[in-house]
Assembly symmetry: C2
């Protein structure tokens, strides 16, 4: 292939230079809390491995493999990998963890205790049995990152249009990937130097000899997971690559082409022969060790470096036209670097500096937002200071803490395990999204439903499973509801009209669209218990309640407050009783919740302030809706409320004295959420369910006022209940992680509504 260097500064290339696609695979061993290989099966809560797009097992039953989708940013891939970790770790039983190092933990004495993955397909099992026989089970227990990389189509197309050597695009693209593969194999030692992270291995891993000192990467060395030296495949042309592989299989030296373990695999088709016609469309980089300092085994900056590395190799002229010579040299360099002591300088430092300079040059061609100067300066430092390599850092930590390699591994396995459970209602990688959406994504991933975030800010997801695509917003807005029903529920007047028409008890009242009209109507409501509220808003804003009726002054003020939130307001009859939220899905009440105002319970010993601080320690409490409950404040409103009870934050309430800190029961102002799904009288559930049916909704949060829930509710008897609101975007996280009572996994109900076949 002729030099591409000259095209790098072409405008047509620069504008598309930074595009790419990435997909990650990450293996790791499942271990017990003691760091021993787990003896349990792959967790059943993770759905079926026969279709799971994200979570599989590789060689052994304990070797969990996480597979991301294809992304066009490093961030996207890392985020999903973060999430997959949360899902896997929280789905494992008995406190099992994931082993953070590429080299496996202590291996069992008896090989038979290493269980081959219990897959459904017999062919898959046979293949693993063959591998166990040829390489030994222990070699197969090594884990790593596979980095699938594709240049942007526009970049390759523009390059193709500019160059004059090729007239067929597919051929050009294939040769580009062959060139990059050769270059990668030639220079991959730098990756091993920077990111190698397997200095030690369990004694039982080695068969005859073993390294005499800690090294940069056992996995990438001759001790690693490699084919026998006689297995040689040419990267000169695609024809040769394919024919070499096929010959190896024909001769019985490989059982199938995927047994060929190269640091770079040419991809584009499941069947190697098809590469001849379809061409190579991406490459799979396979020599990345797990980074134990990262929960996901790989950092975003490593991915960015790899991207820049490959982009540089694309434009960099090859040092030789003899592919075999380059590959042999590359293997020699890499083997040497792999077995260097992690704290010693590499013998190829000079070539490394030259290579990093090439990366620097390419970087100057990238437009501002994609600039990687910081990253490259850091790589230069690491090249100069081997203790900053991953292997070097590992060694330094072990020395500092006097840890063995196993102890080091256990420490991080435990750390990442604890992190996964710290806030079980969040999903790593997507913590900026709404809690309900995070939990919903968790459930979908767990069950093997593919999830794509179409828009983060908008909480818009695309799910697919079994060829069936579903879009979901806010985890509760789906194709199962019709367009017009939520619009109906958004309008409180219309909702009430529809419910009243269907025979349900709703508070009487009037709607006003001008302040004057509302003010002049005071005589209608004089002396009646009323609620004044904006017509459409949904967060309890602008609502005034007058349980004993309002004076003209209070009424006028309430009208103005309500109008400040909306163009129309409602003045409604106040219904006495307790308010419950019924979450109805597909005709069935899935959760019932009682919310109580922020409060603490005295113990006769601590002050109100201390009790608040203690209650706020609950990991379910957070701020700004990042947790299912909000921390209780001690602001002006709370202090006023205390004052009315003759208390201050310094008062010590008696034992079992309940001190309220708020009048309103909103969870957002520190209120408690109590799940009462089991306890609630069925008669009210039936009222809620049939009312939601009357509205025509599939998913609905409906608020009932119930004066006495011990009495049987009756649709016709307005004394037993009243419906005050129906919510088309009902919160779900508060039901799933309530303050007290049993959590109701509503997100799973939504998932099953969309994909009932998952229930089987």
């Amino acid at each position: 292939m002729k030099s591409l260097q000259i095209h790098l500064t072409d405008e047509r290339i620069q504008s598309v230079l930074s595009g790419f696609k990435i997909g990650l695979e990450k293996e790791s061993q499942r271990v017990t809390s003691d760091g021993q290989l787990a003896t349990t099966d792959h967790p059943t809560s993770l759905g079926s491995r026969s279709f799971h797009p994200y979570i599989q097992t590789d060689f052994s039953e304990t070797q969990t493999e996480l597979i991301t989708q294809v992304f066009d940013t490093d961030k996207g891939a890392i985020e999903q990998l973060e999430a997959l970790h949360d899902v896997v770790v929280r789905s494992m039983e008995n406190g099992e963890r994931l082993w953070p190092i590429s080299m496996p933990p202590d291996l069992p004495e008896d090989d038979r205790d290493i269980k081959i993955a219990k897959l459904e397909n017999q062919g898959d099992i046979n293949y693993r049995r063959y591998l166990a026989k040829v390489y030994g089970k222990r070699k197969q227990m090594v884990s790593g990152i596979h980095y699938n990389f594709e240049f942007s189509h526009d970049l390759l197309l523009n390059l193709f249009q500019i160059q004059t050597e090729y007239s067929d695009f597919t051929l050009f693209r294939t040769d580009v990937y062959l060139k990059v593969s050769r270059q990668y194999l030639r220079y991959r030692w730098l990756i091993t130097y920077l990111f190698g992270a397997s200095p030690y291995a369990d004694k039982r891993y080695f068969t005859d000899k073993e390294p005499e000192q800690p090294v940069r990467s056992i996995r990438n060395s001759e001790y690693g997971y490699t084919n026998r030296p006689e297995i040689e495949v040419s990267y000169q042309t695609i024809d040769q690559y394919v024919s070499d592989l096929e010959e190896l299989v024909d001769n019985g030296e490989l059982i199938e082409t995927k047994e060929f373990y190269s640091s770079v695999r040419l991809r584009g088709s499941d069947n190697v022969e098809e590469l001849l016609t379809h061409g190579v469309s991406y490459i799979e980089i396979r020599n990345i060790d797990l980074n134990p300092f990262e929960r996901t085994g790989v950092s975003e900056s490593t991915l960015r470096f790899l991207h820049l590395f490959l982009l540089t190799l694309l434009f960099l002229d090859e040092e030789s036209t003899d592919a075999k010579q380059m590959l042999d040299l590359g293997t020699e360099y890499n083997n040497k670097v792999s077995l260097e002591h992690p704290l010693e300088k590499t013998m190829f430092q000079e070539e490394g500096e030259w290579l990093l300079e090439k990366l620097m040059q390419l970087n100057t061609q990238l437009t501002t937002p994609f600039d990687c100067s910081d990253l490259l300066n850091e790589a230069k430092t690491v090249l100069a200071y081997p203790n900053k390599t991953l292997a070097g850092q590992m060694l330094e930590v072990m020395t500092e803490k006097s840890w063995t390699n196993e102890e080091f591994g256990r420490h991080f396995a435990n750390l990442y395990y604890d992190q996964a459970f710290e806030k079980p209602y969040q999903l790593a990688g997507y913590r900026d999204m709404e809690l309900s959406t995070q939990i919903f994504m968790f459930d979908a991933i767990q069950k093997g439903v593919k999830v794509e975030v179409m828009d983060r800010v908008d909480q818009f997801l695309r799910l697919s499973f079994d060829g069936q695509v579903e879009y979901v917003k806010n985890a509760n807005m789906t194709s199962r509801d019709s367009y017009v029903v939520p619009l109906m529920m958004e309008n409180k007047t219309v909702t009430k009209k529809v419910l009243a028409k269907a025979g349900y008890h709703v508070p009487g009242g009037k709607e006003f669209s001008t302040v004057d009209e509302a003010l002049i109507s005071y005589p209608i409501f004089k002396d009646s218990p009323i609620v004044v509220k904006p017509k459409s808003t949904n967060y309890g804003l602008g609502i005034s309640i007058f349980k004993e009726g309002a004076t003209k002054e209070d009424y006028d003020e309430a009208v103005r407050i309500a109008f400040s939130e909306d163009d129309s307001i409602l003045v409604e009859e106040f219904l006495p009783g307790t308010e419950y939220r019924f979450f109805v899905l597909d005709g069935k009440t899935r959760a019932v919740m009682l919310r109580t105002p922020a409060n603490v319970l005295g113990d006769g010993r601590q002050t109100v302030a201390e009790l608040v601080a203690e209650k706020n320690k609950d990991s379910l409490r957070g701020t700004h809706h990042r947790a299912p409950l909000e921390k209780i404040q001690l602001g002006d409103i709370e202090q006023l409320m205390l004052k009315e009870q003759g208390l201050t934050p310094m008062s010590i309430p008696e034992k079992d004295q309940r001190v309220s800190l708020r009048e309103n029961s909103n969870v957002s102002t520190g209120g408690d959420s109590l799940d009462v799904t089991e306890e609630m009288n069925d008669s009210y559930k039936h009222i809620a369910e049939s009312a939601v049916e009357a509205l025509g909704a599939k998913i609905c949060g409906i608020d009932l006022i119930i004066p006495d829930s011990t009495i049987h509710g009756n649709k016709q008897d307005a004394q037993t209940y009243g419906i005050i609101e129906a919510n088309f975007n009902p919160a779900m996280h508060m039901h799933i992680y309530p303050y007290a009572g049993v959590g109701q996994r509503l997100t799973m109900d939504v998932l099953m509504l969309l994909y009932p076949q998952l229930n089987n």
Copy 2:
């Protein structure tokens, strides 16, 4: 029944005093443009009389009967009656009008030319044949208003709870309505005085004798539409009322109970005998003449007066316990008042003054917003000045204009006809609603689908037909679309992703959620043709287009403008070509529209300002979205645009010179809408249809950029088209009433989508 007067001041009564229910029926004769009885059949466009809830025929084929639903305000009933008039008048053929006076127009010489209504049910026809035989066809041609009235349930219930005479509520309610009926029959002369409006009748109407002078109300007099004097029915008790009626039927004096023509009919059941068990639940007042000064035949203030009148009669003690005596007296008074000369004072003025005083007293009990003082003061004036009665006013107009009664009738028939066609895109009674909703309501009413406005501001309708209820918002949001699809379309990024994934050509681009991120990304877009726009807004706001690429300064400014409209913005590739709006419904392109910027066409004679003024005369142009097109302005932007062409508003463009006044093609800034549904190449319709299917939408406005619509469009060929937006709330009125081209009745398509059975 004991006196109720004492309860009037009770708080429990006052709070519910003003509630009521009302339903109207209004008959009128269909006439030709010459004011002759129409000879055509009931219009076929009005659907079938076998189910039409609003538009029926009474006795004759020409006697159109309009029936409103039940409302709880006078305004609601009047508004619907207004709308029914628009629908009926616009549905009649050959310029037929409705006759505005109770007494029919010139009747044909031959009775056989008065056609009995061509109803489906043979029983209905037979009943009319019997009436024709017994009363003569001419008597049956009289028209009027029937006023159905029900006191609020709360008022009657509270009264029942306060009083001590009755222990059964149904019985109490029945006796209340009997009392009010007796009172109404006793004092109805005042209604005849105030609202009587049939001073003359055609000679052919009378059989033997006729009045010698103009009178207040022929219809309410002995010449009117009454039973023979010997038909007597007691209003003393419900038992007597029912048994009297049944006896009359048994004796063959009435063919069925509905042949009993009283000014008040007791209602509550189709079958009179059932009144004994179910009780009376409302009354039908039948003695209101058509008011020819009102298009609807009755004014809102008349309805308010009747309400107050009935409320007064409820609390007013009866002058006698002898019902027959009261009824006889009432009939005597009414007969006399009916035949008084309209310009003479009534002989019962004193009783009238006393009665109005009673109304005044009751009015003081009503809370502020329901106060009727103005109305009552006006009634007092009318009582003092007979020329202010309706009949008096009619006479004065006829005298002033030297019109005969027929000429008077023709004048108003023509006037109301012209009014109905002045703005055919509006629907009287609902002109404050969106045009598309008005047109949609027109279509639904025309076809006999029941329409209820659930919320005016929100354009929220409830339709019902054939037991099937449908809710519709904005005339295009229905149950046929799913919840999540419009949410998808609301988000331009998600829409593009979904379309791109499905293989459609959409402009490339990037989304930014911070100003800094967008600004720093300028190098990516430098020198490319781009569009900078807010992510979610839908009205063309905040959009900047750079067909030749943007300078850094222009780009920065555009980014800031877009961010002023939304939290996120898109910077997109600009697609060259012409933008067309495709309106796709149920998989089929129903309309294609091309919008052009505000412009005028020179005639070599008039100035730009004159051409604009002339173009603005089109009744399709209005302001503030009250018409399908907006008037062209001559403001700063337009003058600048003229200046750029070397013109001023005073310039005289050459013949056929097209002068643009705007750069943007929005209809809201005076642009023209051109329907090109027929002309558009089918290939683009198919692209639009399949793209909408890919989005999963039933109703969608999708915008295609087409560089050359004479070339066959191809989904795979990005050169032939690009999709720039999908709209979940697409405007419909501009397609129905375009500036040029054929109107596409999209509202009817929506109706047929909801009720396909209407197509049969």
